[in-house]
Symmetry: D4
Subunit: 251 residues, 8 copies
């Protein structure tokens, strides 16, 4: 059913030729018929609470620049993740107001009016090598309107360093815990606090730990219940999930 046919049907209802109940029946299948214009992407934030974000890794600088420009047009800003330094340079040169956040591998256009602050998120990481993924999470969460507390270098090999920060972890709405190698950090934190906790494995590791599968599997099999996990190096996804939770909490 195309739009013309839809309007024709509604015209027939308007003219009394089709009863509303019969029209309802006919319309039940509507979405599986073709409407000529695609639903535009700006609807995504309304639907899921999170605007569309550009995954930069397999796109050219030109493609990233074009999409960022389009996404930012209505004034809500825009974000591209996994953008390497060379591409970022080109994008920033091409897109007004775009800025590069190198440690997070992000190109960002700030919203004309900042989003209302909704929720506090702690981003904890085990070692300095996990920094880029933690920053991807932190910068994304800030873009989505959250306040972010950063806690670094608190891996379980030196338990003291973590234990003295537990109080801070108990004062946020959600904790994002980032770790590579054997990925034990989230298990230990989850046993100490009652906040929602999102674990992010990183690809930092070598030998059997190369690529991050061990950290991921370790987080999935945590003996501390209530740990949830995202893909390896997916700081962005963790931030989106945390923002969904923080928004619900502060509603």
């Amino acid at each position: 059913m195309d739009e013309a046919r839809l309007i024709e049907l509604l015209d027939r209802v308007a003219r009394g030729l089709v009863a509303p109940a019969d029209a309802a029946l006919a319309l039940r299948d509507l979405p599986f018929e073709a409407l000529p214009e695609a639903v535009i992407d700006h609807h995504r934030e309304l639907r899921t609470g999170v605007p569309e974000v550009v995954l930069g890794e397999w796109k050219t600088a030109a493609q990233i620049a074009a999409i960022l420009t389009a996404l930012a047009a209505p004034g809500g800003g825009a974000l591209a993740t996994r953008v390497d330094a060379a591409k970022a340079l080109e994008v920033v040169a091409a897109v007004p107001h775009a800025e590069h956040v190198p440690h997070a591998r992000i190109v960002r256009i700030a919203p004309a009016t900042p989003r209302a602050v909704r929720g506090r998120i702690a981003v904890v990481c085990a070692g300095t090598s996990d920094g880029p993924v933690a920053e991807e999470a932190a910068v994304t969460a800030e873009f989505l309107g959250c306040t972010v507390v950063r806690i670094s270098d608190v891996g379980v090999a030196g338990l003291h360093r973590l234990l003295v920060r537990v109080g801070e972890l108990r004062n946020v709405d959600v904790v994002i815990a980032v770790a590579g190698m054997e990925g034990a950090l989230p298990s230990v934190i989850a046993g100490l606090i009652d906040r929602p906790l999102i674990a992010v494995p990183t690809s930092v590791g070598y030998g059997v730990g190369a690529g991050g599968l061990v950290a991921l599997a370790s987080m999935l099999t945590s003996c501390a219940p209530g740990v949830v996990t995202v893909n390896i190096d997916n700081g962005f996804g963790a931030a989106v999930a945390a923002a969904r939770i923080a928004r619900a909490v502060t509603r």
Copy 2:
């Protein structure tokens, strides 16, 4: 440092022999010294918001019965998961007030006074084969004080069935989406709603899908941002994570 030495130190503070600031310094390392009595398990709910729960799979019926009895003693009820039918029969016979919830593979002792209701959770599953894992999540969430909405048999092969339930999914605090095979259900739901969503892969599948690794990996790589995941068949863990979120939301 054992308890005797701790009390001795505090005695010396009481008698003015040690300045409080010096004692504080000495106490900084305390937890890494031995205190004679282990912190008892009933503290866990205070610390993490969730009482200790028995993982029944590798324990004997006698072990499960003993731990359940001890956990339930203070009146807050108790739960054992992954208990097969044969063990459950024995446990129920041995433990007063214990009841078997067969479809969820759970043995449960209801709290003397039910927990206050905190939060609404939807447990959605793709096929009837995913039922036991979904029920493990639902029964656990109810035990933790949540209201649960169950939505079954809405796999993506028949998209109509899912689309007509989207309204319900928009009216809960958290969604738990359970699926085996290719595990596409959470990706599709996450694109339609703005609630926090926890994906649970199940071991339902054969060939390359046997054991549930494909469903898990599919959920981890979802193109819909904000999906978080737990281990295969871990309905219990998803419920604990959901309860943490629901409690935060309703605080």
Copy 3:
């Protein structure tokens, strides 16, 4: 938007309070709102050309019997796959007209009126151990209205046996080639004929070949272009794909 609201909107159109074009706009999002009744499963054959079929492996005999009875009610017959002998006995006892096809692990209710014959399919298998999967494909294809030519025991270790049957393979609409172990059969056939060819790996094998992953991977990496593959032991899926092709050919 629930049905009441839909009918109210159409009523307003009928009464001239809303212009058809405005209603069309409002309706664009309809399918993502809740309609109270789920689209019933009998629509699936209309939509995809193939009726819903029961995957019996993780269902109880009682569940299989109930679903088969419901599916067969309109007279088009019904099929359940991966049903072991014990369950099949119970199902056949409980469901009128149900018959067990043991070698194919299928329980079948023939349609009241057989489907029109559409297309010829060859089901070729490498060894007698691959028989159950080949039969699952053959019986399913017949249920879907195809004529099936069965060719058995033509593995590549004795090339003569295959070469003398090539003429038959050139006279069907689609070839389904079933093999376990190293799975070389489809590669060899695909180099000899111009028909569409669907490869089905089986779990027949031991050592590195156990479970069928080698046969599957071998088929996916075939040096003979145009081979397409389904999951290990998925004779059913191959038959559905073949029937889709055969129906298109004979349209």
Copy 4:
């Protein structure tokens, strides 16, 4: 048996020294004896319906140029896939009428007389990152004489975009669905249409999704029956399979 011996045998038949029936018996094993000249490659199109195509990845530019020239000599054109930009430059410089299709990583020599148009194929892809594989499929299908409909950027995270194109998918002979990440697109499409559907996983993804194994496995375990799959990034193979089907349909 070499050719001399074959002709000697036939001579003896001609001279009445060997009875035709005895010669037939002797000849049964013939193909397993050596004939001096290899069957030339131009026979492949007669046998399988598809001309030999050059897989460029592990060949030098010089090797690709030489084989393309030989294949194109009879006038039917020729194709080389997986040719990177540097090699393509060299090949195009060396081979008359060769042209580079960069987005598809293909070097192509058009046939002197285009093949008769046979069949319509839709090539659908989930994201712009899947573009090169989709183009490999599309360009190959066109070379084989098919009409191609391209539909891009309809991943399941934004279901609207796909649903409005379903009508187009119902109007082709075969659908090729290309997706990386979690690879859910073919499952959703297969539940909506009745056309043969070939799924192509791409290597687009990171973490557990790196390399495309998750997308592949997801397609193999699709809960929507009738999906068939090719190797990761094998747009070429999907096009050959689609062309075999389209040719059969339009026969």
Copy 5:
């Protein structure tokens, strides 16, 4: 081309209507046309030097009995491998002259006239747990006409036990070395002798060694050049390879 057409062609040669050279041309493609009768299995020994052997694992006792009877009919004996005790009992009861070799999981019918002795093979195994696979190799090799020297329990953890047997290993035509766990035995032997050496990994092992993949991979990566390997637990295949070599040596 069927047999009738073949004889017609030869008739035309006999009658001078077709020149022998033209017939030779026509016959070049013969084997790819259908001849009505399949080449019977008794030819395999002529072609490959080894008679067809029954792989019993996925066959019923009745199937094994029937095939053994047929294969043994001409008097050359027959062999079925991977036959468990229950099936073997049935087979032996049903097939005259069949005997069960339990430790080797083999059912054997001795040839009416023993094969001429051709070659000496040493079958060496690392531990007593590897015994069944070693015996499968030994019994098969004896059936194929080889003399077998058995050397057991010479794993590398006690190097003395192996070193004192090296002299024997230097006096055979081929060595088959069978080992599970870390599979180091063939590497050590290959550095000490100049005989062809076939390594057989077994599924004996637990933890990461379960199933035999470690033993297999260890043999494939042996730092001692010239080790060749067969599938896990494939004592039969090793014996066939060894017999091919021994026969060549003693030709």
Copy 6:
């Protein structure tokens, strides 16, 4: 060179026919020549400090009984590991002084005179499900003459329980840390003490943790340096390694 030839050579030295230096040259290769009698197994304890122990899993009760009897004959006792309850019953019935230690899956014959006590070993385990592996380690270590301190149920989900036992861990010669699931326990302990620490992963876990590979990999990638690891469920191997260390320490 066999023994006869060796004695002949030495005879010739004795008779002055061969110079000692020349004999030395000839003897350099000796061990690679065959001596008729195998070095008997009782030498192993002299060579490696640990007597031969029977791995019971793939042996029959009769085989285990025979080897235990032979090993125990000189009076030093004997041990068989991985013996299930049914076999153990048979072995104990057949072998004098043999006793079954069910929780450790061990059959043991105590030495006539206990070994001198050498070293203190702590066997720590994360959960009660890890008990059988921990007991295999403890019982083996005791058999080898070590004093064993058992510490149970101190998983990282409840860090208090572990921290209060750290003092005990600082008072042994070696720590064996046993854990399944995500295997984080050894990482945490290794950061708190300066003793040698051997990590033992167990097969306790489900989903991605099934079989123990995650616990193993987690221990191998521990961010706490100095953790060494053995195979999954290999409590025996850990005890042997610990005894080697303890013996060196107490030398």
Copy 7:
């Protein structure tokens, strides 16, 4: 509980307002409350016997230089591992007294006063390609105060080379055995000596051996009991474990 609150509590004890026993109770949870200053890293050597060492792989030269400088400040020297040549150049230029040990990929600052010599360690390697990992172990062990015996190129393919060095292996406190490919070296050594033995797999290998997983798995499944293992290429970790043992031995 922050420091202010801690001192307030101790003040109340000092003033007699809180009884020491009650304060002890209150303090039991102390370490899980936040203290404002992190425990500094120089404590690690006191706690675990090994100073903190820099893992250089994912850090910039500037980061490595800064941390080395800080660690070396108290005079005990410092070490950074996995530092490639380019980074090492920068670090050495920036940090006084830093020297590059290229074959070991280490940057080292010698302690002002060398550590007392404690223990003898043999570092054995199978082939020259394993050299860098063996050197990482050797240089680390020397930094930790051990005497190191290096034995190279004694792989099992030429057993003579190893056997003539066994005497030396029997004269050290710990053996570190480094091997790639099939990793059989530690199994053979462990059967010949009674010293603690730490196996280090290397990533030297190709085909199934690429990356070192085969060597690792082979070492984990060694049939020679008492072998313990570290991660692939983790010479550093092996040296730390060896130093822990050597220190205990020489205590």
Copy 8:
């Protein structure tokens, strides 16, 4: 026992102080005692029939040059495999008589006197991309004194090309079959000939076939008995195994 002690013992035999039988007893353990000089590498050819060969991949050009020079000194030539073009240039410049065989990635020094020709080996490969591995096998076999027949580009997708060469394969002592992708070639050949056949998987392939594991697994699970396999891309190892066989055959 060092050499001095050995000579002392023999002296005591010479002087009649020790009886030969007692000395024999003492000498039984000899090889496990240290002799001061390592057995030199030139003995390897005597022991295993194959001289030591340099694996060039992880060695520097200088190391390769030095070892080649030493190995070639006695006049038997020398070989280095897996030498890339850059290293080869350096090696050839540094080592007299060294020549680079680029397609085989080999640097070779011909023996002063060629080895006697022993045996005929066919090296068959499926596609031109498999060429370098096939050449490594061929050049190595020639170096070891074998005559080599090369047969290229006979993959199973065009069965004609292979079948016409079967006669040649029946006229050699050993066949080496090299294939990547799905690796079906050896299975097909093994069913056609009675010669020993060594399968060599190559790393040619993409998607699931990347790296060659599919080809390897396919060869290991071949339904044609008697196929033996070496590691991926290990043309060298296949040639050594083939030479061992050929030498035995021609003995």
